[in-house]
Amino acid sequence: MNEFEPKVVVFRCNWCSRDGETSKMESAANTKLIRTMCSSRVDPSFVLKAFASGADGVMIMGCHPGDCHYLSGNYKTMRRVMLLKNMLSQFGIEPERLKLEWVAPSEETKFPEVVGNFTSKVKELGPIR
């Protein structure tokens, strides 16, 4: 049997990354990278749509608190993600399938690291129901 390769969607804020990394990650198996101008641009419906379309995990990446390019977008993102997680569990979707990470452009190694860790976590959880 083939090993389960989770399908992961990563929404990444434009300001918490450097160019170049994107293309590297996109080649990673089953990882779909979507760039937004701010983490707060990730409407909860984007997350639900990803899950409804068969994503096994969704990660949102934003600037560290206090560092949002638009000042406070990431605080909203934090609250939305928390509320979404509570709601996802009511839908029978493990809240761990949604992950918020803060990454700064200077943290070069952090990006592949957090995506890698998250992918393994989702792999443990198995395919979405």
Binding site: L48, A52, K76, R79, M82, L83, L84, Q90, I93
Partner: protein, 325 residues
């Protein structure tokens, strides 16, 4: 000229949508005068065979309320679709699944288990649950299949227009009927109600602060609700900002926040996600820079039952549609 033929039908619904037709009061006489009602199970003694005998497309318009829960619902709406020029999804349940749609947080088995075996008032030692087919001495008895998942009307048949609301208010029904009689209908697929958010017409809009910051979520039974102040300004979840107007602000005028029965304005794909996003944005807004993650978590956990709150009327129409099992 022959009067246009009209049908009313109900699927998984409470009867409120039938009641609202009665609430047309004297206006119902205008309707009854202008049209020929060929099918209306709650009020008139026509049968399925009478509908089947009509030629295809000969009913001008069918108003169908209720969600699709059983095989019988599906069969009847397919029949009505074939016989009708226009189909109007009437009320929240046909439009988005409505309250019966909350059944999508369970499964058929769980519902049968509870309703036919566990409920204290039920005596059912043999553990009998409804079966599609049952053999008895005199032959085979049948029942419509009870589906695992509740569907909206437009997930079952093509729908031309939507009359939103739980139930739709009489003035919007009359407007729709008049538009149909005059042939002055908007583009197919339209929701026959204004396309503005409820806050725009809310009598409390003036007390809605420019910047709302909710310090603690309060549920309606936990506070003495102010009669004039915007609910959000009182820390009570009101879905007005994410919900279509046109209801006459019925709940607000009865001092209850909007629960979203009119659904979203056009262009919004998922009503619940919109409501969730709106409420999450307002939580602790003023203090957001100083709050620790634990503070935020505590505030967010104050939204008890987020799925039921944000999808009270629209679970089957949502992106996820049902609980994963």
């Amino acid at each position: 000229m022959a009067k246009p033929k009209v049908a009313f039908y109900w699927c998984a619904s409470c009867g409120g949508c039938e009641e609202t037709v009665v609430d047309l009061a004297e206006d119902i006489l205008i309707v009854a005068d202008a049209v020929d009602i060929v099918f209306w199970p709650v009020a008139l003694d026509f049968k399925k065979k009478d509908v089947a005998a009509l030629s295809d497309g000969s009913i001008a318009v069918s108003f169908i309320n209720g969600a699709i829960r059983t095989g019988e619902h599906e069969e009847m709406v397919k029949l009505l679709r074939r016989k009708s020029g226009l189909v109007v999804a009437f009320g929240s349940c046909a439009h988005m699944g409505g309250i019966p749609g909350l059944g999508n947080f369970w499964t058929r088995d769980a519902i049968f288990q509870r309703v036919y075996k566990e409920v204290p008032t039920v005596e059912n030692p043999e553990g009998i649950t409804p079966q599609v087919k049952t053999q008895v001495e005199v032959g085979e008895l049948t029942l419509p299949e009870f589906y695992d998942t509740v569907k909206t009307l437009d997930q079952t048949i093509p729908v031309d227009y939507y009359l939103p609301g739980c139930p739709p208010p009489p003035d919007l029904i009359m407007q729709a009927v008049n538009a149909i009689l005059k042939g002055e209908l908007p583009e197919k697929g339209a929701v026959l109600a204004p396309d503005k958010a409820l806050c725009d017409t809310c009598p409390r809009a003036e007390t809605k602060p420019e910047k709302i910051s909710i310090k603690e979520i309060k549920r309606p039974h936990e506070v003495e609700l102010d009669l004039e102040k915007c609910f959000l300004a009182q820390g009570v979840i009101c879905l007005g900002p994410a919900t279509r107007s046109g209801c006459g602000e019925r709940c607000i005028r009865a001092n209850m926040p909007c629960r979203g029965c009119f659904g979203p304005t056009s262009g919004v794909e998922d009503h619940g996600a919109k409501g969730l996003s709106m409420i999450a944005s307002l939580l602790g807004l003023e203090e957001e820079e100083r709050m620790t993650e634990e503070d935020v978590k505590k505030l967010v956990d104050g939204v008890v039952d987020p799925a039921g709150t944000f999808y009270r009327f629209s679970l089957p129409a949502s992106l996820l549609r049902r609980k994963r099992v």
